[in-house]
Symmetry: C2
Subunit: 501 residues, 2 copies
């Protein structure tokens, strides 16, 4: 549909989809497309200027109570449906950002609305336990069920938390504990350790570091914020640990034309990782963990090669540092695999994989090796929330039954190819179209242009996300299918034309 | 009922209640006692040895997936009712610990089970938003409603978070930002600041400290853990910020016999607070915030006088440090006031009050002064959870309607006086009975004796909490009334007799 606007290229664009797979695969993917979401609108419908009058009033109200200027849309969640959200001024948008990538099955999915229409599940929601001491008697079974459905290969342990930042904070703690256990040879703490730790001094509170990457985002609590390196506004005025920041590959696109440069870029970054390991070791703060996103998300959707991730793991292992994959944004299917690191063909399992967002609560999987020997070392009051796990179980059931990862891969391929086609017409105004599954992004020439693209898309009824300085990012639901993609692409193409002619 | 076991003192104990208020107050309190919880058992019922066979099996199952040895009871939440929980072996306990003080209205409260039997509320639960960007259109009203119902006097701003640790992490960030804004005179960041902060170096990531107290507990993420000073097992092997730890008053009980000692203890601690402010200032890491619990909870239920809290506030103000009251455990009514600091008659409002636990989600109130000037400075993906706020609204409605704070005060007075009576018979085996409302604790002679008291109470069907090394703590629901107190007191008295004779 959208391609009618790209007259000379329409045939190419449509046929280009099949370049990526043989016919039978495409057909299989087609068959698995999700059934139409009951009641879903056929397209956006904008009735007011954006923001509308009621939205402005609500922002004013909320600003009296908190700093609310980050608010973008006040949503009427009662009216939202599938891939569409409706705002307080009754404007309907196609949502290609989904509450920062947290809504896997769209809004008001009929099966999700039924989940708590069940006495046991409702009671599990209302009687929220302190899971570390008083879990429900069904909790071991629920945890086992989640393990069986989604545990990354080789990871046998699962801990739940409340959010992504808490997942990463606790991942760091596992890394520190494992590092010290290896150093000490056991977990028999000395009196000096147990006394100094209460004063925040070594050896009890050791000098240890987490290595992260330029432009990474891992959360905003003080530990994770020390590993976050994407934007100053997130960090300014907040004390931080003196931890190393390694360069993350900055690839040239299209990848197929820049293979040599990009491989050298991998090696340059990996060499710097090794160098920083040595520098921090020598200054008495050895690196106990390396945390990395399979695709740097808040930092601008920066990809790195499987080669990079494999080599990085081997450097981490050589230095006794835990290899922590932060799949908070990539996990749960948007890349076309449940975990993005499945694309990397790692030589052995990562030590820790953290999650949140689409999975509705935070948590992490670890190897047996990372398991604390004593209780109460990574404890807190709630340690997750059964009410969210109940929703997660239903999500996983539907994702599997409706073959939604196949849908993500086929819609993603289509969208990516069409965007490349549009890019070929408008580069360098936009460039570096990239993605896995529907986890897709492109780069604008300037921040002002990027912001204007997003603003114009919204005025036409499509909500996209920005990331870092220059990136436009797509984070649709797992139900996002070709008809939705066409609406987005049509709007996007129109915006490109408006802005360049 | 329980007092039949204390023959010589029973009259004294029963009449001693009235010492604390005039008759009409007592009557008013009596009238406000909550109606009997529908279906609530009349007492505990223990059918197996503790832990029972099914519990042992479930612990073995869960230990395969995570370090689960902190688990105390696997609960059948379907069967729990009011102040009673039922375990996986069908044992029924009076719950005087309530999932670490998080269950304000008991289990399966009939009105709470109806909360989501409403399409709008159900949709608010299922369509969980990123509240900082896409809140529901009813969110400003909900926030205003919560403000109107429970905002501490003088605090005009409210931010929600997921848990207590995140509440405190963000409270620290507000304190750091406010401190730097005062130092700089504005929020116009220099290029040096915006560049150095991404390297975790000053001036962008300044050297600033949070002062906390010996035996304090504020959370287990890396920032809050640096302020937590209660037990080594929570902190060991984890790097920490070099922040000051001040002494917290260690009172002698009974208070009325030790006034002079305790006042000197206040002054000793306050002098050390001032000294540490100076030391940290001189070493280039000024204290930007002082965080303190109105009653140190995990640290052993340590109380301090209103005088101490008033003086501490004045020292914080003199040093431009935010005064942060951590009401994560004390907030929500268990002390007989909604916020424990209402007992302190502070000269001006605290800068920040944090909450979680009984309020079902984390968050904090602040003064206007602490409000960030720019958006995205204390942002994260979820920033709370409307599903929990909906429950909170219902809790607050019921707490007010059923006059539950009055119930807490009257049941608390009764329980405290009876425990003092028991203490007078068994001291020094137990001593220092203390509390506000039903937030009551006592100290055992040794850790072994404390643990044995809790174990024996459990075997008789009452679940109590331990805290720190020597403390037994009570954290019942707000519905805990005299008949429940009698069951607890009777069991406790029996345990005392068994252990001392």
């Amino acid at each position: 549909m959208w391609s009618k606007f790209i007259k000379p290229h329409s045939a190419t664009c449509r046929s280009s989809v099949s370049k990526f797979g043989n016919k039978s695969q495409s057909t299989a993917a087609c068959n698995s497309l999700p059934a139409k979401f009951p009641g879903e609108p056929s397209g956006p419908c904008i009735k007011t200027s954006i923001p509308g009058p009621r939205t402005k009033q609500l922002l004013e109200d909320l600003n009296k109570i908190q700093q609310a200027n980050s608010t973008s849309v006040f949503v009427n969640y009662d009216k939202c449906c599938g891939n569409y959200i409706v705002d307080a001024d009754d404007n309907t948008y196609l949502d290609v950002y989904t509450n920062i990538s947290t809504i896997p099955l769209g809004y008001n999915h009929p099966e999700l609305l039924q989940v708590f229409n069940n006495e046991h599940e409702l009671k599990s929601l209302i009687n929220r336990p302190a899971l570390g001491i008083f879990p429900g008697e069904d909790w071991p079974k629920r945890m086992k069920n989640i393990m069986d459905m989604i545990a990354p290969s080789g990871l046998t342990q699962l801990n739940t938390m409340m959010c992504g930042a808490c997942a990463n904070e606790n991942a760091f703690k596992h890394a520190f504990m494992a590092y010290r256990r290896r150093e000490r040879g056991n977990d028999n703490f000395s009196t000096e350790e147990t006394e100094t730790v209460l004063l925040n001094q070594p050896p009890g509170a050791p000098k240890l570091a987490i290595m992260s990457f330029k432009n990474s985002f891992h959360g905003r609590t003080l530990g994770t914020l020390s590993a976050t390196r994407s934007k100053y506004i997130q960090k300014i005025d907040i004390p931080a640990f003196d931890w190393p920041c390694a360069p993350f590959p900055q690839y040239k696109y299209p990848l197929e034309e820049n293979e040599k440069f990009n491989m050298e870029e991998d090696d340059r970054c990996l060499a710097e990782v090794e160098h920083l390991m040595e520098v921090w070791y020598k200054k008495g703060t050895p690196v106990a963990g390396v945390i990395v996103e399979p695709i740097q998300s808040e930092g601008g959707d920066n990809h790195a090669s499987p080669y990079f991730f494999r080599k990085l793991q081997s450097i981490a292992r050589k230095n006794n540092a835990a290899y922590i994959l932060d799949e908070v944004q990539t996990g749960g299917g948007p890349t076309g695999k449940f975990w993005c690191h499945e694309y990397f063909d790692l030589e052995c399992p990562p030590d820790i994989v953290t999650f949140s967002k689409k999975l509705q609560l935070g948590g992490y999987f670890t190897t047996e090796d990372m398991k604390p020997q004593q209780p109460f070392r990574t404890f807190n009051t709630w340690m997750g929330d059964p009410g969210k796990v109940i929703l997660l179980e239903k999500y996983l059931e539907i994702i599997k039954r409706d073959k939604l990862l196949e849908n993500v891969r086929s819609t993603g391929k289509y969208t990516l190819e069409c965007l490349k086609q549009i890019q070929s017409e408008f580069a360098p105004f936009i460039h570096s179209v990239r993605g896995r599954g529907t986890f897709i992004a492109l780069t604008a020439e300037t921040t002002e242009k990027r912001d204007e693209i997003i603003r114009r898309l919204r005025a036409k009824g499509t909500i996209c996300g920005g990331a870092h300085d220059l990136t436009v990012r797509l984070r649709p639901t797992l139900l996002f299918a070709k008809p939705h993609a066409d609406i987005f692409l049509e709007s996007f193409y129109e915006v490109m034309k408006e802005m360049t002619f």
